[in-house]
């Protein structure tokens, strides 16, 4: 290897992504207390979202090993879900863990002011991880964030207020239903509203662009605006964006 003066400095700068004297805190993940609610911020602000989207995508692409099964790009892999969403979640602190409580504690919280929600999962082959439903729910409570890709939007997990509906999504095995409560302080967007907002915001970017791939998804757009969840009013589901915005019963039922 030929020594090139200044090369080490350039490598250090490119790896840190911080220009000397311009240390940008917005690219850092946020502090996550164990089980503490982390409120989101508006990452987009008054900007057009172009530079932010490209930066999110660069980090997303770097975060995912090419060897994982996915769609052929670096962004969507079944082991991690949507890496662009994960990167937004990381920046917001939404990838922190939910507070874990027992059944009685969650009973009390949902009687008081938390919205009771259920998530049913199954050990199907689609996500190619061949784990039990209980293990998938355990990852939601205690493991690394794995996001979901949905018809309405991408996000962390789809949930419902209806236990029977959650059960229909589950494989009925022990631990296949995750019961949780959405915190009363959570910022919840109505799907039809946030979708219209995302539609308008994304309209300035051509389809096929990196920017459209992020802002054209209502879930990634809402997470970047600091929302904790989306109420999908047309079907009555809640798409959780911020994992710290829920209190989860452990173990799953």
């Amino acid at each position: 290897m030929v020594y090139q003066p200044g090369a080490a400095v350039l490598i250090a700068i490119s790896q840190s992504r911080h220009l000397p004297g311009k240390h940008d805190q917005s690219t850092h993940g946020r502090r996550r207390g164990s089980g503490k609610y982390v409120a989101g911020r508006d990452l987009i602000g008054a900007g057009d979202g172009s530079e932010l989207a490209l930066d999110i995508d660069r980090n997303a692409a770097k975060s995912v090993p090419e060897t994982l099964p996915g769609d052929g790009t670096h962004r969507f892999r079944k082991e991690v879900g949507d890496a662009q969403f994960n990167e937004i979640a990381r920046r917001q602190g939404f990838d922190g863990k939910p507070k874990i409580v027992d059944e009685k504690q969650l009973d009390d919280l949902t009687k008081e002011d938390h919205v009771e929600l259920f998530r049913g999962v199954r050990a199907s082959g689609f996500w190619e991880d061949h784990r039990s439903a209980a293990d998938i729910n355990d990852q939601f409570r205690r493991g690394r964030l794995r996001s979901t890709l949905g018809v309405f939007a991408n996000g962390t997990v789809y949930t419902t207020k209806d236990h029977a509906e959650a059960r229909s999504y589950s494989d009925d095995s022990k631990g296949s239903i995750q019961r949780m409560g959405l915190r009363p302080e959570a910022r919840v967007a109505k799907y039809s509203d946030i979708k219209d907002e995302a539609r308008e915001f994304a309209s300035s970017f051509p389809r096929g662009s990196i920017e459209y791939s992020i802002w054209g998804d209502p879930g990634k757009y809402a997470a970047a605006r600091g929302y904790d969840a989306i109420h999908i009013d047309v079907v009555g589901s809640y798409l959780i964006l911020n994992r710290t915005a829920v209190v989860a019963q452990g173990p799953s039922i």
Partner: protein, 59 residues
């Protein structure tokens, strides 16, 4: 909504650029379908066409 169908269609929609109108059309159809064959032929064709689109940034 059927679990297997929503996973399959969610992956197609979630990994490709779609217009908001396309997303609405697909969502409305998936909510009422029990499986892939149950989807209207036009929606199935649309999903197969979406699946052939390049990923973000043309890749």
């Amino acid at each position: 909504m059927n679990a297997e169908l929503s996973q399959r269609v969610g992956w197609i929609i979630g990994t490709h650029d779609v217009t908001f109108d396309e997303r609405d059309q697909v969502a409305a159809a998936v909510v009422h379908a029990e499986n892939w064959d149950d989807l209207p032929a036009g929606i199935r064709s649309l999903l197969l066409e979406i699946e052939r689109r390049p990923g973000p940034g043309g890749r």
